[in-house]
Amino acid sequence: MTTVTEAAPTTGERIAALGRNLISPRGAVFLLLAVLLVAITILNPSFAEPGQFIRFIQRVAPVAIVAIGQYFVIVGGEFDLSMGSVVTAQVVIAGNLIGEDDAKSIPVLLLMLAFGALIGLVNGLIVSFLKVPSFIVTLGMMLALLGGVLYWTGGAATGNPADNFREIGRGGIRDLPVIEILPWSVVVLAAILALAIWFSRRPFGRTIIALGDNATTTGFAGARTWWVKTSTFVISSLSATVAGVLLVGYAGVHPSVGRGYEFIAITAVVLGGVVLGGGRGWVVAAVAGAFALEALFTLLNFAGIPSTWRDAVQGVIIILAVAYAATTFRARRKGHALEAPASHPSPDASQTSPETANQTSPAPGAKESDDPSSARPAAIPSSQRADNETKGGS
């Protein structure tokens, strides 16, 4: 189970380990983020000023929160394509129901949370009990919600809600030293990220990952799989709701707010090294993926790419980044990219004994995301990765 050296690691080994971490799929996103932030700072040194940087975090907060929600669904083996439309629907609900009446802020906020939970519940129950692929269920939900918004608004903006409701996304704690303002969005993001990290270390959070790795064994292990799966969709819809609340404040009400968020979130999660299909991933890396994406958009703004080129450049960079994450991941699973292959059986040899691997396959996935420090490739025997591959779907 282990290839860890017996002797205490030397400084050289530590640096090598850090390097391996940074080019490994889970570390790659942090490396990418650092490169992007440095590039932005070179183009525009004022970006690194604390006041500017906190504004950048404020801007990323809604996307990052949506990515956290999407992380739980994806790591549990499903997709939620309805997140963007939930954001849109919540933004429109806030705009239409609150209007200029401050007193309605709290009741409407509660209604929005209830609505978000309901959407997630419906998605989750249909996926769990009617056995419809989540891809289709949430795609349908996306169309239904967008259609509802279109019916309600005719596709055009209504007025912005009362200013005190918008304060959550737009305002913050003012007159602070160094950063001048601590936006509420940043506080909300920090709280949700902390909650997500805590939650994913709880037994329930581990069960989600186990479910994504192998639903059958998780079921045999005694987990109520339908409830675990449904709860991931509720989490994602609620996170989309929170993002919607922040976006109403940050931007205002428009039926285009939230458009494409599901794909930005999925891209962020994949950039963060989370495996589509479930079972492996780290929520912090997913958030880093969201930051890396937004940093990329910002970099393109600063670099002055002509507007007609922008989407193409953006698309190519995202494909390259995701492809890098995917290839390093595959290479690692084959066991010859990032560690010495000599101590392990070759993939050919391991293919002959898949039964042994099946018995233990959920374990590495679950353990892997518990502890980031154990995320080093060396901690996981490559033979099991190879076996996972030959299992043909789990």
Partner: protein, 401 residues
């Protein structure tokens, strides 16, 4: 595991492509010749002849009733419609591109109130409307449906896109019944009349001249554009870009999709890069988000051009910034129905019915704010429906007919 990963990735990729494809406005269904022309247009939207024509039209005093701008016309060449003259109420068939932006929604409400007046006058029996929801394919099907089964006396078409709609409009003309086109144009002169305000170049000239007058050489203008490829919008930018360039103003343009979150990010990044002295918009949707970005960054307001949408006029007044509200005359939505009345009465109408289009300047803001006091933010100040039944409640409630 591996296979699942591959399949799932393929599905995500396919869906992403579908989403992207769904957003395109490319007229796939157009005849090959029409498609070739669109490609040429895409390369260069600037048209010197049209630019000069619209530039001159801005200074022309329009003919027609003074207090009814929707019946005025500029430099018109009148056509005889006596062959269409006939008695009785007629059925109008309206192929609408969409009501997916506040400008079209406001116009659509006004049009329906105008319809009520003409129904009471006995000129129009009913109007059957099909909404293409921004889709060329749907609108072509809508027009063909009207031709074959609509039992229409007159076709009113507000084209979704120029090239793609041309063959369908020609088919409608071939029925021998009168065809009225308004707002965006088509590449044929078969309709009886084509109704539109002066146009995009005039908008671009008005706004760019204002900004150039207020700014100094070397100042920076951020141009926020909704989308690419729609002629009325592209012409606005083509004219403004040319004038900025000539005046030595540094202008950088972005596509925003009218998404306020996107607009706010763009302005924040531009402010982080350096000072921004001016903001130019090709439509007022999202103007408030742009102004808020300056507030959030704690810098001075820019010199700005928006549109005559109430949200912009209110924010303009509230902040006291230096601004101009260019107008793409919303009252043009009344004109097609009034044209129906004239055509069946045998009165002559302009072949190309160019309606007046004049921006709202700083000294007029108070007047327009007072006139439209109870109107929602998405309302357009120059909607021209003050004399119609239901004013002002119908526009205040803003329920789509």
């Amino acid at each position: 595991m591996r296979r699942k990963f591959t399949v799932v990735s393929a599905m995500v990729g396919a869906l992403a492509l579908m989403t992207l494809a769904g957003c395109t406005t490319d007229p796939n269904v157009a005849a090959p010749s029409a498609e070739a022309e669109t490609t040429e247009e895409a390369v260069e939207w600037f048209d010197q002849a049209l630019f000069d024509k619209q530039d001159a039209e801005r200074d022309v005093v329009p003919e027609g009733p003074e207090d009814q701008p929707w019946l005025q016309y500029i430099n018109a060449e009148m056509v005889d419609t006596s062959s269409f003259a006939s008695e009785g109420a007629k059925k109008a068939c309206f192929a609408n591109a969409s009501i997916s932006n506040p400008w079209r929604q406001t116009g659509w409400i006004t049009m329906n109130q105008q319809l009520k007046v003409l129904q009471e006058a006995g000129a129009i029996s009913e109007m059957e409307t099909r909404d293409a929801q921004d889709s060329d394919d749907t609108q072509i099907a809508d027009i063909d449906y009207f031709i074959n089964e609509g039992n229409c006396d007159v076709f009113i078409i507000s084209p979704n896109s120029t090239a793609a709609m041309t063959p369908a409009v020609e088919r409608a003309c071939d029925t021998g019944k009168p065809v009225i086109v308004f707002d965006r144009g088509v590449q044929t002169d078969c309709p009886v009349t084509f109704i539109h305000p002066i146009g995009g170049f005039a908008w671009g000239i008005d706004t760019a001249e204002f900004l150039i007058g207020e700014l100094e050489e070397g100042d920076k203008v951020v141009a926020l554009r909704i989308l690419a490829g729609v002629d009325v919008l592209e012409q606005r930018w083509a004219a403004a870009e040319k004038l900025f360039d000539e005046a030595g103003i540094e202008a950088v343009d972005y596509f925003t999709g009218a998404d306020p979150a996107e607009i706010k990010k763009i302005i924040s990044d531009e402010l982080a890069k350096g000072d921004v002295q001016g903001v130019w918009m090709d439509a007022g949707d999202g103007a408030v988000a742009a102004i808020e970005a300056f507030e959030d960054a704690g810098v001075d307001y820019p010199v700005m051009t928006g549109e005559d949408e109430m949200s912009f006029l209110r924010k303009w007044k509230e902040t006291g910034l230096t601004g101009l509200a260019p107008v793409y005359s919303n009252f043009q939505w009344r004109t097609p129905l009034l044209a129906v009345q004239k055509i069946f009465a045998g009165e002559e109408v302009p072949k190309e019915w160019v309606l007046p289009q004049s921006p709202i300047a700083a000294e007029e803001v108070d007047e327009y704010l007072a006139l439209n006091e109870g109107m929602p933010d998405g309302h357009y100040a120059k909607f021209g429906g003050e004399d119609l039944p239901g004013y002002p409640q119908v526009w205040e409630e803003r329920v789509m007919p």
